[in-house]
């Protein structure tokens, strides 16, 4: 039998395998790719490439190939054929939609062009030799066989991986949780540049946990399909073809205005969704699984290509590291799990819950956090990577000017925090990671780390735990603020249940982290957390009160935000061994800075670009008025009337304009400056070095609104030329058949 020796054998030439082979070949490895198919070959798939996938393919030099493909601007979720919501990819990113027959060929070509060797055949057996070599026995047709000997094997042979069957025959195969089926269809009308998602998915009177999709692959050609979870493990799936036919029929009937006639272009094909990722079973000493063979399909969205490519590239990185530095391939699974925390999680419970909400789909447009598949798709699909969030970026920039250990301390806090969330509460990962990071969490953590440095300490494990505890407090009031106030339908109840579960998770994590430092730290945290609860209730009590006084506002901010800053600064000082009086100064610094920070947040909210103002709108609708709003309402009687009457989406710009005209924002900016000054003074009283990390933090908080001032001036200058482009809000709710109706926001 012919024998071929190589560095790495990659079994399966789909996106994961070819991407891995391409990366390895580029780095000079000898790579042999095996696949039983002649390329190009068809593959059942939605064909959708998210911006993440597009970026990854760019690294393989496929930009030019993709430039010819159908452009995708974002998602459009259509509810019950009556309402729709468009989520554009942020920051001008674009997705693409390419039939797999072409895409897979292109990635394979990229691998071959870099020197990978292709063998058509079927891997039949895998042996690991004593000599740290693996042998893949391959049948090449017509009775010909080939022995491929390599140092590593990458198994990327799809959802029904034969390699997994060979290597892990003893592991019971998990029941497939989800399936998808798709066909290509010609539409009479030209398609829009969106991934269309249709919910709810209903077949023969039964709602299925999943969604239907229409993804454009050309001007009048669409990939139309349905994907859904099994309702119960014991259930038979409703027949896939029946489900797809029903969906297409529904589109013909209810979406005629959008598509015109819809003609099938061939027989649809279905496949299981490989969502059964398991870190430990993804790699061993000489073998890694990638793509569907590793079960990397996103169980939330059903997206498979981007994670497959990413896992293939990570496999290449790990193989490279094992060649260069002898790092075991066994670490691959864990690395992949950290990089893609949703992989392998069972989200069918959310999907199941979503189908229980018979009234849910119509009211999806209320701004609730995560509600089963529809909203999860909205929140996650539009946000494959956590948005470059202003705090992360700002804190990173802030730390840039600081000594390296400060930044390193922050890095480790962030890493551990995310890993912790991802491993212990996967269901909440998307929500809690986002809420923690976008609501001051990193700033709390930075305060603690900076305080340790300022008072002459080195942040160790205890500082990292304290920073985590502080950061976990950030989402608590934000989440509880999302509890429904009045009407409690099924949807609101589900929302509230999730909110409470996640908030409890956050607070219990906070307590757990701080209790590892010691009883004294735990008492301090409890003190801060209690004040946060008080402030939450005070804010709630003052809702819709336009006569809320500035003192009352500051009192609640001192409790809600100042207390956590004070906790962080005080604990940091204490961990650095500062004297009791210095610790007291640090706490006072924290309290002052907290107020300055929140006031600057209020200002930023008012100057945010249009898509950021949906947060402002929600606050105004909920009657939660920030300081500038209160001051402005005190000066402008008509504004007060407008706010009392209820604010619509279209009015938001005008209201912001009115607030600006009252000069309220200058007052608040004055408050920021004053509090930053007091914070500096508190530090001076502690007799720290004149230049220190906490002063740096205070300067940063003070400067946030300066930048804002500049930004506004620039915006004013560019307004004339840019107004046309800014005319369409990025995140719009639109009512399909009754235009102008504003109830989508209620």
């Amino acid at each position: 039998m012919p024998l071929e020796e190589t560095d790495t054998v990659v079994v399966g030439a789909g996106p994961a395998g070819s991407a891995c082979a391409a990366m390895l070949a580029e780095r000079g490895h000898a790579v042999t790719l095996i696949d039983q198919h002649h390329f190009p070959r068809d593959k059942a798939c939605g064909d959708g490439l998210s911006p993440t996938a597009v970026a990854a393919l760019g690294r393989l030099g496929l930009d030019i190939f993709l430039a010819k493909a159908q452009v995708i601007e974002g998602y459009r979720v259509v509810l019950d054929h009556r309402r729709e919501r468009i989520i554009r990819y942020a920051h001008g990113a674009r997705g693409r939609c390419v039939p797999r027959a072409f895409l897979d060929q292109a990635i394979l070509n990229a691998a071959l062009a870099r020197g990978a060797h292709f063998v058509r055949g079927r891997a039949r057996a895998l042996e690991f030799g004593e000599d740290r070599k693996a042998t893949v026995l391959t049948a090449c047709g017509e009775g010909k066989q080939l022995r491929l000997v390599a140092r590593q094997v990458v198994a990327s042979d799809g959802a029904t991986s034969a390699m997994r069957g060979i290597v892990q025959a003893d592991v019971p195969s998990q029941a497939v949780r989800a399936w998808g089926i798709r066909g290509y269809y010609a539409t009479e009308r030209a398609l829009d540049d969106f991934f269309d998602v249709y919910v709810p998915l209903e077949v023969q009177g039964t709602k299925l946990p999943g969604y239907g999709w229409v993804f454009p692959v050309g001007e009048r050609v669409a990939n139309i399909g349905v994907g859904y979870f099994r309702r119960r493990v014991a259930d038979d799936f409703p027949n896939l073809n029946v489900a797809l036919d029903a969906f297409v029929e529904e589109l013909r009937h209810r979406e005629r205005r959008r598509f015109g006639d819809i003609q099938s272009l061939g027989r649809p094909t279905g496949s299981p969704l490989a969502t059964n990722f398991h870190a430990k079973r993804s790699s061993s000493q000489m073998l890694v699984f990638a793509g569907d063979a590793a079960g990397t399909t996103d169980p939330f969205t059903g997206e498979g290509i981007a994670p497959a490519i990413e896992s293939g590239m990570l496999a290449a990185d790990c193989i490279q590291a094992s060649h260069l530095r002898g790092v075991s391939l066994a670490t691959y699974g864990r690395k992949l799990a950290v990089r893609m925390p949703r992989c392998g999680q069972d989200f069918s419970s959310l999907a199941r819950l979503a189908t229980q909400l018979e009234d849910g789909a119509h009211r999806l447009t209320s701004r609730l956090w995560m509600l089963g598949i529809p909203n999860a798709v909205l929140a996650i699909a539009s946000d494959p990577d956590p948005r470059p969030d202003p705090h992360r970026t700002a804190v990173a920039a802030l730390l840039h000017g600081m000594p390296a250990p400060v930044a390193a301390g922050m890095e480790s806090v962030e890493r551990e925090l995310l890993e912790e969330i991802a491993t212990s509460f996967p269901l909440a990962t998307p929500v809690i990671a986002r809420e923690t990071r976008s609501h001051g969490g990193p700033v709390y953590a930075a305060t603690l780390i900076c305080a340790v440095h300022t008072f002459g300490g080195e942040p160790g494990e205890e500082a990292a735990l304290g920073a985590q505890a502080a950061e976990y407090l950030a989402p608590f009031p934000v989440l509880l603020g999302g509890i429904s106030h009045c009407r409690r339908g099924k949807l609101e109840k589900l929302n509230d249940a999730l909110v409470v579960l996640i908030a409890d998770f956050a607070i219990s994590k906070s307590i757990a982290a701080v209790s590892r430092i010691g009883p004294d730290a735990a008492l301090q945290l409890a003190q801060a957390a209690r004040q946060v609860c008080e402030a939450g209730m005070m804010t709630a009590a003052d809702r819709y009160d336009l006569h809320r006084t500035q003192d009352r506002y500051i009192d609640s901010v001192e409790r809600m935000i100042g207390s956590v800053f004070a906790f962080a600064a005080g604990l940091g000082a204490e961990l650095a061994g500062a004297s009791p009086s210095a610790v007291r100064c640090a706490r006072r610094y924290g309290c002052e800075l907290g107020v300055a920070y929140q006031a600057s947040e209020d200002l930023i909210e008012l100057t945010a670009p249009v898509e950021g103002q949906s947060d402002l709108l929600v606050s105004l609708r909920r009657g939660v008025y920030s300081l500038p709003v209160l001051i402005a309402a005190g000066r402008d009687r008509r504004l007060r009337k407008r706010l009392t009457a209820g604010v619509g989406y279209s009015e938001i710009s005008e209201i912001v304009q009115r607030i600006r005209l009252t000069g309220a924002m200058d007052d608040v900016r004055g408050l920021v400056d004053q509090r930053v000054e007091s914070a500096r003074a508190a530090l001076a009283a502690a007799q720290c070095a004149t230049v220190n990390e906490l002063t740096g933090l205070a300067d940063w908080v003070g400067a946030r609104t300066d930048q804002l001032q500049r930004g506004r001036e620039e915006a004013a200058a560019g307004e004339v030329s840019g107004s046309a482009a800014n005319g369409t809000p990025v995140d719009t709710f639109a009512t399909l058949h009754s235009p102008g109706e504003d109830s989508a926001w209620q």
Binding site: R231, I507, S508, I511, M538, A540
Partner: protein, 336 residues
Amino acid sequence: MNQAVGRQPTINGSPYEICLVSREEIVLAANAGELASELSEPVGYVLATTGKRLRSAIVLSSAHAGPDPHHQDVRTGAIAIELGHLATLAHDDILDDGTVRRGTDTVGVAYGSLASGYVGGALVVRASELMATFGEEPMRVFARTAAEMCSGQMAEFEDSFDTTRSVERYYLAIAGKTASLFEVAAWLGGWLAGAPTATVNSLARFGREFGMAFQIADDILDVLAPISETGKLQAKDLLQGVYSLPVIYALQTDRELGAALEQPLTQADLPKLVARIRASGGVVLASHECFRRARRAQSIVHEELEPAVATSLAALVEQSIAPITRRMKPKHADAA
């Protein structure tokens, strides 16, 4: 609700004179008076609905396994555990959409769901604060328990409307949401009273088994007892998609029940479903499991602790499962 002050209830069947913690003591330890009025009012409302105070009774009883059962910390510890429990009740009302608890409106109805959220937060934080005053070990044990309770709730939530929920998944959920607090209650009493490590460990194991038995009994009562007895709608859990042990057993024997549960349900469907669950033998099987756990809890204390303490703790178990015993064992009353 309005018991005369001064006549403190004690534990029936216990050889000790154990005064349960009073509402006044709880309010005082919760520091409710110190809180901002917006929070102190709903907190006070929740504290006023304190019920049987079973978990604090466990702390007080198990303290007799140590040399110093009347140490002031023991009472404070009992209150801390009670506060932890009240915190979960406030949040349970949101999770299971409760409107009535112990005959009165829930805090969510009286002050809004948001108040339930913050009251729960404030109480759990206060409980952790009290635990921290006892030192490193109680604090860490409590922090672990709080996390366990969360993950138990989460497991239950994840399983909701899953008619294939397994017995194991059910145990996983109740071990977290209920048994972990019973465990820490029993442990804490012994620890604070200065009991030796082996005794404290026995108490912890007792607490866990007791907690499991208690929750199973509670779930059986949900199916069996009319609203007049429990203060909540009979078999309400079914509407929430929470399938507890009797229902899981019933689903295993009655193959058609799953489909029936998956239909959109209303209150009117409940009596018929309850009848089916009973007919399938689900309630009987679940009661056996409840009794088995209760016996195990009692045998741990009888074998490993002083007779007087054991009697006291065993009596608590007996009282907790009495509603089930009454219903399920009328014909073999002598067998027990």
